[in-house]
């Protein structure tokens, strides 16, 4: 089954990449975008026996750095 782990910067952590993307969007001439935050999505293909606790462990110990990032785990229907 597929699992997606979304990793995003915590509020208050400066995101220069998001800011640069914001500038580039403005460069397209599109108005109305107030803020941009960039994160990453990590897609895993796991066996059905992999538990939520194991996914939490992977996410909190490796995929996200809990000092600066949050994560959200999503199991996709097979």
């Amino acid at each position: 089954m597929k699992v997606r782990v979304y990793v995003s910067l915590k509020n208050g952590v400066l995101d220069p990449q998001g800011r640069a993307i914001h500038h580039a969007i403005e460069g397209l001439g599109i108005e109305g975008v107030r803020d941009v935050r960039a994160g990453k999505m990590i897609e895993l293909e796991v066996e059905p026996g992999v538990t939520d606790a194991q996914l939490e462990e992977m996410a909190s110990k490796l995929l996200a750095n809990m000092v600066i990032e949050n994560y959200r785990i999503e199991r996709l229907a097979a």
Partner: protein, 225 residues
């Protein structure tokens, strides 16, 4: 007296030779060169250095992969026993990712890779790494990094400052680092992480010798034990 040091090399490290050269020139003894896949370190090490570079291509986050490599488990154990550990640049990123130092290193606030000599102010001249400097002394050390923007929450920053664990600050803003922090110590004072490269300022031919006192301090600290 022999100074038994080790330099750890990860795939993508690129300052390991500079670090080994600096350690050999200052101490007179060539360090052990350790590969990341080694699960053991030589016994009775006096000093461990994690060099700069782009370990594992900075995949996931700078230092994230290296922090979980086999050799780092041995480095963490040694650090917890009190062995001095110096992490420079990527080595600093590895130390924060490994949990040996608080905080994290974010992308530089200006988005640009910064590669130039910068002035540092010595904030703590009492540690085994910095005893060769005087408090408030300004030294010239080069930086070369993309992810050197030191971040920690305010409570952590207050604690670091209150406990004298800020070793160096940038004399002017270089990369957006919180409170212009360039290097921090762990609570026990035997682990130092810093973005600037002291190993690149050892001989006059390198443009200065302000990095030399750091290695001399560590050697002297050992001799006085």
């Amino acid at each position: 007296m022999t100074f038994r040091s080790a330099v750890i090399t990860f795939p993508g490290s690129n300052c390991d030779r500079d670090m080994a050269d600096a350690l050999e020139k200052v101490s007179g003894t060539a360090p052990h060169r350790i590969w990341h896949g080694d699960a053991d370190l030589p016994a009775d090490l006096d000093f461990i250095a994690l060099p700069g570079g782009f370990s594992y291509g900075d995949y996931l986050r700078s230092g994230a992969m290296a922090a979980r490599s086999p050799v780092m488990q041995a480095v963490i154990a040694a650090a917890n026993r009190g062995v001095p550990v110096l992490g420079v640049c990527n080595g600093f990123q590895v130390l924060t990712e490994a949990g040996l130092l608080p905080g994290a290193l974010l992308r530089n606030a200006g988005m640009n890779f910064v590669c130039r000599e910068v002035v540092l102010t010595v904030s703590n001249s009492q540690s085994l790494f910095t005893a060769g400097y005087s408090a408030g002394q300004e030294i010239l050390i080069p930086v070369a990094h993309h992810d050197g923007n030191y971040f920690a929450d305010d409570a952590t920053l207050d604690r670091l400052e209150g406990e004298g664990r800020v070793a160096f600050r940038y004399a002017e803003d270089v990369n957006g680092s919180a409170r212009r922090i360039a290097g921090v110590l762990n609570a026990a004072g035997n682990v130092l992480g810093m973005m600037p490269h002291p190993e690149r300022m050892i001989e006059p031919e390198q443009g200065g010798t302000d990095g030399r006192a750091m290695f001399e301090s560590a050697i002297e600290a050992l001799a006085s034990v």
